[in-house]
Amino acid sequence: MISSLKKRTRFSLNRRQKTFLTLFSLIVFLICIVLVGALLDEGRIATNLVDRNLVPSFDHPFGTDWLGRDMFTRTIMGLSLSIGVGLIGAVGSISIALILGTAAAIMGNKGDRLISWLIDLFLSVPHLVTLILIAFTLGGGFKGIVIGIALTHWPSLARIIRVEVMQIRTSEFVKVSRQMGKSHWWIALHHMLPHLVPQVLVGFTLLFPHVILHESAVTFLGLGLSPHEPAIGIILSESMKYLSSGMWWLAFFPGLCLLIVVRTFDNIGEKLRMFLHSN
């Protein structure tokens, strides 16, 4: 019994270390995709009419499309692009949530009501319809999708931040700090921000899956990124024309990869939450 216990202490990590290790490897995995996507040779997706419509093989793990482009390369490039778009959109969304959430908690009753109303306003139209509307207004493309995503995904996080700030604001140490004559800004910077960082970080990673899924959905519908970009949404919407001729690999692999990336982000968010709120 004692020897088995010893063995366990020697060879196994504790829960926190395990979480950290998983977190680390997941992040490395995502960085690899982004880097590979950025470094892959454009020549691999050049039109090659000799190798058209190939089923997945050793040379082309995901097969080739009707123009002889390697689907593996297109998929990885698309993922890299999606992650990039998602990153910008999510950062925008977080900033809005942070500003409005804090403002709602600090500005008193009227400001709070106004911002709560604003949150309700954005939640009362389906995300996808709002995204279509904004993409339409901005004429589609990269700009439309990024702004659309930033403007639609903030409400839930803003609510969390609002509650958090309210709790900190009424806590003892903030009251003491105010009694000691510290300014609002000083309190916000030294007492509020350190408490909000973990919340925002977790919120960010949990927001990401939604952002990427919405980006690919809008692109799939034809209102997002332009058809020349190797985005997953574009690949999948193009594949629809060829499905009836049995070219299943055009849709199967890119979608699966998207699923894996989104699930990875979800995992990172969960692990991060466990890591930061370990008690």
Binding site: S124, F136, S244
Partner: protein, 336 residues
């Protein structure tokens, strides 16, 4: 119904009054915002209307079209004209379908409604059952599989599931048609209910496969809480278990939150329907929204934004109302 609480009806009336005030302000704001957004769009409404024949239209004709539509007027006047028409129920005329927007929306809404109700019921029933099973068998392999499945589905693009469905059931097995709500090339009168049903199954199944995750996870959590309670412990001590235990003590406590959650999820349902309709070329509201966005049909797009808002509001209202009427605990200290 022996003693009806008179206070209850007064409160209910107040509740409706406040809710309708709320939807009025929200709708008004949405009208202004979407109108201004669309006004600032780079897409030229005249060009979108005329399309490929743009070259044959001279500047004078253009001017006359703009005048006919009131495009030269100040933005606020245009907004006011549109809003007053809206209040009389006139949503304008769709540019791509060349018929009144309200007609298109009502016609397409029936298609969408059938699809959404089917998906809503399927995902609700299956999600609830999955959640209950997972909670009753907590920490076994069946629980782990259900939880894993739900988390994975939450990360799955709806349209990809639709594409997989198409590949497997329509292309490989040939069980279902590839798209549209009726067989191609047949008249409306010849379409039987069986035909419509066949075209409905794939999109509805797609939507419900993706839709179960939320309600299943929620129900599982609630059921685990219920199972940890004292009264369940007592029931177990009396020898109740399995289905009887669930029927007597579980169902009542978890059914209400699950139903409410399903009603509150109308927004996701609508978003999912947009994607599923696009994949299966199902002629519902979602497809109309996409068409309107792609081809610059401003009246239709505005109409759809307003309509979807009302639709989601209705879902949330029902969810609130169920809680309010069914669960007496929530009546205390009710707040909107």
């Amino acid at each position: 119904m022996t003693k009806v609480d008179k206070n209850f009806y007064i409160k209910l009336g107040k509740f409706f009054l406040l809710k309708s005030f709320r939807i009025a302000t929200l709708l008004f704001a949405i009208c202004i915002i979407s109108f201004l957004l669309i006004k600032n769009s780079p897409i030229d409404p005249i060009q979108a209307y005329i399309g490929a024949d743009m070259l044959t239209v001279g500047p004078e004709q253009r001017e006359r079209i703009a005048e006919y539509w009131g495009l030269n007027l100040p933005v606020m006047v245009q907004f006011w004209n549109w809003l007053s028409a809206l209040l009389t129920g006139d949503l304008g005329t769709s540019m791509i379908y060349r018929s009144p927007v309200s007609e298109i929306i009502s016609e397409r809404f029936i298609h969408s409604l059938v699809l959404m109700i089917a998906a809503w019921l399927l995902s609700g029933i299956f999600g609830f059952a999955m959640g209950v099973i997972a909670a009753m068998k907590k920490d076994t392999w069946i629980d782990k599989i259900i939880v894993w499945y739900c988390y994975t589905l939450a990360s799955t693009p709806t349209f990809w599931v639709g594409l997989l469905m198409l590949i497997i059931f329509a292309v490989w097995l040939g069980w279902f048609p590839i798209g549209l709500s009726v067989p191609v090339g047949s008249l409306a009168e010849d379409v039987s209910i069986a035909d419509r049903l066949r075209h409905l199954i794939l999109p509805a199944v797609t939507l419900s496969i993706v839709g179960v995750a939320n309600v299943a996870l929620h129900t599982r959590q609630k059921m685990i809480d219920v199972l940890a309670s004292d009264y369940v412990l007592f029931a177990k001590a009396r020898g109740e278990r399995g289905f009887v235990l669930f029927w007597r003590h579980g169902l009542r406590n978890i059914a209400l939150p699950a139903v409410t959650l399903q009603f509150a999820a109308f927004s996701e349902l609508f978003g999912g329907a947009v994607l599923a309709e696009q994949v299966f070329s199902y002629p519902g509201l979602g497809q109309a929204t996409v068409e309107a966005g792609l081809r610059g049909d401003v009246p239709l797009l505005l109409g759809l934004v307003i309509f979807s808002t009302i639709f989601i509001f209705a879902g949330n209202l029902i969810a609130d109302l169920i809680y309010y009427v069914v669960d007496p605990r929530t009546r205390e200290g009710w707040r909107i």
